[in-house]
Symmetry: C2
Subunit: 295 residues, 2 copies
């Protein structure tokens, strides 16, 4: 059967995906681009409007975990079932990134780096991990994997989502707040002035969600006042982050080029093939998106 | 009974120790300085020769885990039993520090920091923790705690000590080598040219042992050639590291002011009191030092 693979990835990346999908779905005909008879589509940042050009479409499988870009397409055929990628390797990578950033903040790496630039030898007060409260925004597979790993490291961890817990309590109680939410109309801009004001003075922020969660100007203000001591940012409103952006040169910001959890085409294609098999068998698919919830 | 507390710590630190020791040993008379009738001494960097001035001395308890400084005192009464501090909180802190540094290297923090200074957005290849081999030099309580935590994070871990394993194999197989050895005549300078040459090209080094383990000039050479990609150093030949030292400004070196595991006087004094009780009861003491082995 014909499966359309729609993407705006650079050519080399698109070819790697195509090879991985073909290996995982050997009985299907995977076509790069608009295949008019395709009933299935696998998408990795497709051009807006493209999905609407496939009249027979019955199932859309995202090659990525986040579907905020897809749902932002006004021409997306919203009656067609859409699944986001569920890949345990993404949750593992994300948990590892969160653990690395939390440990670096916990052990005061930014402050020691600043001291090193001035050849200052000064031991800073250090509390044990068991006294450090980490607040996770999000309660999906990535947040749960991160929570489990942080607990293994001895941290106190709490998590919040729309249906779980009180946001004010979490913000007021946390030394480090980690955003792992999906980007939706409800979560857009959640890392903004009001949220920062409800956090402990001097708390730190890690954003591994989406750039749209963060109000950039509000962060700069909160860092300037000291309300937020440091921010680790893996995602940005505009990616790549423009060279002229003030984040690059702010010593209170760690800039990372969207590397917390990188989708591996081979591993992802196997998950995608299994999900397509579920769809064809009439079984519930993994990661079915609710367009209303936005994830 | 009189217990002499001998130290060259700054006055404030000495007072905190004295208060903690007095709280943990309420029936004893803890005297700061040379108490001629003392049969027991607790020491934290005592002046060389001081211990030789206590004629009734029967037991020396170090307030620190490392005793290389004590054993370097030519006047140390070597017939007197000497115990180093065994404090599980030190092993916990050390494991946490090792985990933080290993994760930072594993996730390429130094390279991303360098990119940030130049506003470069570039995703670097990332292998999973399960493919990253960590080699620990040392097999004491700190190395074992570190190995356990690294394994929880998913790393492959091997460890070497004089009586355990092959050093050449460990060096050749490790992506990151972590030194947790005690400083002895045998381990002095172990992080030197020959060791670096036996490591994988581009491997990284973490020294949380002692400054004397590292041959500083050899490290600078190995970093310059690229044989070693990065070094995280918590300890130095001279501490505080002099402001003019070239390590401070080397982007391939992370300088930390000896903070991997900081002895807490309260927790340590409780362990010390328990060990003194063991000594008085004629039971085996914890952490008994073999002057010949050097730890």
């Amino acid at each position: 059967m014909t499966i359309a693979f729609l993407t705006r990835l650079p050519n080399d990346d698109a070819k790697r995906w195509l090879a991985a999908l073909r290996a995982a779905l050997p009985s299907d005909d995977i076509v790069l681009g608009l295949a008019p008879d395709a009933e299935l589509a696998v998408v990795a940042a497709p051009a807006p409007g493209d999905l609407a050009k496939l009249p027979k479409l019955a199932f859309i499988q995202s090659a990525w975990a986040g579907v905020d870009g897809l749902l932002g397409d006004p021409l997306l055929p919203r009656q067609v079932a859409l699944a986001r990628l569920i890949d345990p390797s993404l949750a593992t990578q994300m948990a590892e990134a969160v653990a690395a950033h939390v440990l670096a903040l916990h052990r005061q790496s930014p402050a020691y780096r600043a001291q090193q630039t001035q050849a200052i030898w000064r031991q800073l007060p250090q509390i044990p991990a068991s006294e450090r409260q980490i607040g996770l925004l999000g309660f999906g597979e990535m947040a749960r994997a991160s929570a489990a790993l942080l607990e293994k490291l001895g941290f106190k961890v709490s998590a919040w989502s729309r249906s779980h817990g009180d946001l004010g309590d979490l913000l007021a109680g946390s030394d480090i707040v980690v955003n792992l939410l999906p980007l939706t109309a409800q979560t857009q801009g959640i890392l903004g002035r009001e949220t920062f004001a409800r956090m402990k003075p001097g708390a730190a922020v890690i954003n591994v969600g989406r750039g749209g969660h963060l109000v950039e100007a509000d962060l700069i203000e909160a860092l300037a006042s000291g309300q937020i001591s440091h921010a680790v940012l893996d995602v940005f409103e505009t990616e790549p982050l423009p060279a002229s952006h003030p984040f690059w040169s702010d010593p209170a910001i760690t800039v990372l080029p969207h590397v917390a959890a990188i989708t591996d085409p081979v591993s992802a294609s196997q998950r995608i093939a299994a999900n397509i098999a579920r769809f064809r068998a009439g079984e519930p698919v993994e990661g079915l998106v609710s367009p209303d919830a936005g994830y």
